[in-house]
Symmetry: C2
Subunit: 394 residues, 2 copies
Amino acid sequence: MTKRTLLHWGAAAGCFLLASAATAQPQMPRREPTPNDTLVSPDVQSDHRVTFRIYAPKAGEVTIRGDWMEGSGSQKLDKDDKGVWSATVGPLAPDFYSYSLTVDGVKTIDPKNAMIKQGVTSLDNMFEVPGPEAAFEENQMVPHGTIRMAWYSSSTLDMQRRMHIYTPPGYESGSQRYPVLYLLHGGGDEDSGWSSIGRAGFIMDNLLAQKKARPMLVVMPNGSMPRAANAPAGAAPGGAPGGGAAAQDRFSSELLKDVIPFVEKNYRVLANRDNRAITGLSMGGGQTLRVAPTNLDKFAYIGVWSSGVSQQAQSDFEKRNAEFLGNADKTNKMVKLLWIGVGEKDPLANTSAKNLAALLDQRGIKHEFHESGGAHTWINWRHYLNDYAQLLFR
Amino acid sequence: MTKRTLLHWGAAAGCFLLASAATAQPQMPRREPTPNDTLVSPDVQSDHRVTFRIYAPKAGEVTIRGDWMEGSGSQKLDKDDKGVWSATVGPLAPDFYSYSLTVDGVKTIDPKNAMIKQGVTSLDNMFEVPGPEAAFEENQMVPHGTIRMAWYSSSTLDMQRRMHIYTPPGYESGSQRYPVLYLLHGGGDEDSGWSSIGRAGFIMDNLLAQKKARPMLVVMPNGSMPRAANAPAGAAPGGAPGGGAAAQDRFSSELLKDVIPFVEKNYRVLANRDNRAITGLSMGGGQTLRVAPTNLDKFAYIGVWSSGVSQQAQSDFEKRNAEFLGNADKTNKMVKLLWIGVGEKDPLANTSAKNLAALLDQRGIKHEFHESGGAHTWINWRHYLNDYAQLLFR
């Protein structure tokens, strides 16, 4: 049973029904039916092609942008004589995908798809093309952990702040302590991202059911920093999105002074470096690179996905991390895993990731470098989590 | 700090920024700026009026429907010469509100507002008008409980199923056992409703901080039943929305055989009738009336909000609940609280609620009847929870 199926429940029932003990009294708007009433979108076909439809009779142009597309393009939808725009894509490999529609220049969600990915200031739609390749991230008939939304008072940011926390099956009624993966999202996303489009809970549930990973907590903080109180007017909001140094340092403080102490006070975790991993994608990869190398007393496992160190930033990175880079013996003893992953079609990140790997090679710092297909998308990050989580805390 | 404020972070940054260690490299689409780029919606003013805006230069009609409106009407937006449609409403009493836009007949969300309420097949936008009247439901600087999303295998429905569970501050690191409120949503919603637009976690946090309620778990199952396997083609999806008897009985089984056993196996709860309350709104009120009176060995507290028993359904209700209605002394001894709430402008529910109250009066069954202002909206249900939770488990 996937969320996709859920969306078909009552899809034709746009009317409001009032429930009483045994009667349901509809209050339907009285109007002529339109093609919108029965329209299905997205329509995932058995051959893995997917049709998107939107009723917009007065629109002049409708386009779709999805994360299965490479590069920065979009695809136009075609209008029929009833005002329904449609486009068919694929076949797509079984996986989860995100997309958005743009109607006459305004980005919008698909009005027929309630399965969404929440960002800081934006929403995108999601859907699944089911199949064996997606089994690792599907909601399978296996024991499930739980995902919490936990609010806490951030001393760094002087505000109420939220994190998502995955606890493995058995946590709720048990007494065991567990290691912790701190898992960071990218620019524009917030702490729900890894649990919605990132499928982190299902990926962990499935690995644990197959005994391919050690049971662990996965803590997913909100890495999008609010604008600093002393930021100049008109400045880009610090860290949301983007990886400016000041925003990264605020995140480091948030992580070390607020997130980790909150987790270690309230949850049954193993509170030592051998049982802490830190890993992030894109902006979160930059945050990981900012905080981990100078805090090896706190983290033994490091993951940097779709991120790295650009040539322009290398000199600053080397200065900040002189001890990490300069004492390879010590670093290699302390860092049990440094896992870099990037898609071959992710040009900027690919350059930065390879530049980081070259720098580590040059300094004799052990690491794994994984170049996958694809670009700067959650398609890659879910697969990286599935591979990487199996290597942690061994 | 409210979610509303979160939405302003990076509102102008629709571009994609790639984060590396110390550089952020924008990949902005090259195009002419449009009014959409800097548009703010909703724009909550200090006088509690709210302006909604959407850029839709080619649209012929844009309307808004919000839950502050009474009756089934909607309001038209006006178009300016740049293609921006807008409408101002209010002043509105400080509270949380939901709304949706309809552009040329297609319901859509506000593209500038990422704060949403998730339904089974639909999304609506939310916003807050801040002020003292909304303090009870705001994210205050008080200790917070956590809200879990817990998946379980439902034997009734033969599928993976999710519930939301609020645990009070202190639960995570404590050893105490707590009473449980089973809190049901209405037709079209799912298990996230009480935690998003219902604000249940914040309402409980604020009550607990003021010692106005006893610490309790609040379990929020998914009451929207999937279509039964043997349902005739074209039948309305059972229970989502609506309150058909078959769907109600499936929910009763789901609750008694799956939800409650799961909670009592995995959480530190007091597993007896004196420490179980069941309460629902609209469809959930119908579900409550279906399951509670015939299971007084399991529930001591009952809440029925914006629901009741219609005159047409009364004879069936009396037959099913002959013992509950016929033995007032026993019922009054067992039911510690039967709390009925309904809005005076909620015509169908108001009739059913008053009919239920009259029946209970006639049979000598003690109850409280609370008629509030307003209609069939979350505005009322949040206030009912705030009032009702203070009376539980005393």
